[in-house]
């Protein structure tokens, strides 16, 4: 992975994954590993921290005769995710403004660059 992932970005990814639907640890890990190269051991501490910061909460459901702990985004978590999305758009624009405006031939055709 050429671009290392920061803990804030990882928080944002976890929030977004859980916001889509309530889900459980193993699934969250797999979903995030599709996009970024984090080890399987990275996610637990993040989930635990997000729980303590009350942006995620958990509930238990029975699944195939055992317990499964599901994560859900709190109201505070939804607000946090919105802020992350805004921050990310801003961040992405700043980066892309630099990366895609080197010369005429490499002009980026995204919405932001056409203003």
């Amino acid at each position: 992975m050429a671009f290392p992932i920061t803990s804030a970005l990882l928080d944002a990814l976890v929030l977004a994954v859980v916001a889509k639907e309530d889900t459980y640890g193993y699934k969250i890990t797999q979903d995030i590993r599709v996009a970024v190269d984090v080890s399987e051991s990275t996610l637990y501490p993040v989930l635990r921290r997000l729980q303590k910061e009350e942006v995620l909460e958990t509930y238990d459901r029975e699944f195939q005769g055992r317990n499964r702990r599901y994560y859900r985004v709190t109201n505070k978590g939804s607000a946090a995710l919105e802020l992350y999305r805004e921050e990310w758009k801003l961040h992405r624009k700043k980066i892309e403004d630099i990366i895609f405006t080197q010369g005429e031939e490499h002009t980026y055709n995204g919405d932001e660059a056409n203003e």
């Binding site: 804030a8 970005l9 921290r49 607000a79």
Partner: protein, 221 residues
């Protein structure tokens, strides 16, 4: 590497042991998470999961360090403010593991004292050489000044005395005296400069030597 492959029960029991430093609540939460993780991964993926999690001890370390880092953090400030407005957001750098402050143990201090005592004869002779060099240089300067100065004064007195007898010779001698007098700062100034430069180089060399000595000592520890 492990001699025989670990199964998930061994992995989990080693993890539980490695997490014994945590409060019960934290340890139970981590244990049930990883028990579930193995179940959700399925038996087919058991080996792969174990391989990707690292050793139970490494895994425990990452859980514990995040736990303690979080305790410190909640005391000061959280990523997420008490309400949704304001300070939240931004791209915070990943938490770094707490660095233990560098502190000298009793053994290190004792070793330093022993080193200092044993190197004293060497250091003393170096100091003696330096002091005698400095004295020699000052003697040189004073000698030069005295030589030139004495010559100048002699010529001055001679010139004044000769004035009465032969004014031309007298003025000539006075001129000579002035030239000689003028030579003093001319000769002494570059010499002083050279000496200061030498002294600076020496000082640098000595401090570099000390740095190397102390540096090597730290590596030994």
């Amino acid at each position: 590497m492990e001699m025989k492959p670990m199964n998930k029960y061994e992995f989990l029991s080693r993890l539980r042991n490695a997490l014994s430093a945590l409060p019960n609540e934290e340890r139970d939460a981590a244990m049930s998470y990883y028990e579930e993780f193995f179940s959700d991964a399925g038996e087919d993926n058991e080996k792969a999961v174990i391989a990707s999690l690292g050793t139970p001890e490494e895994l425990a370390r990452s859980i514990i360090s995040e736990n303690t880092a979080e305790n410190v953090k909640t005391e000061t400030e959280s990523n997420f403010g008490s309400n949704s407005s304001g300070g939240y957001g931004g791209f915070t750098p990943p938490p770094t593991p707490a660095q233990s402050a560098k502190k000298w143990t009793g053994g290190q201090i004792a070793l330093f004292v022993v080193l200092a005592v044993f190197s004293a004869p060497f250091l003393l002779s170096v100091a003696a050489v330096l002091v005698s060099l400095i004295v020699a240089f000052f003697a040189l300067i004073i000698g030069l000044m005295a030589g030139f100065g004495g010559g100048a004064i002699g010529l001055l007195v001679g010139g004044i005395a000769a004035m009465f007898d032969n004014p031309v010779v007298g003025i000539f001698l006075l001129g000579q005296s002035l030239i000689l007098g003028g030579l003093i700062p001319l000769a002494v100034y570059p010499l002083c400069k050279a000496i200061f430069k030498l002294a600076k180089t020496c000082a640098k060399g000595i401090s570099a030597l000390f740095n190397r000595l102390t540096g090597r000592k730290e590596i030994i520890q």
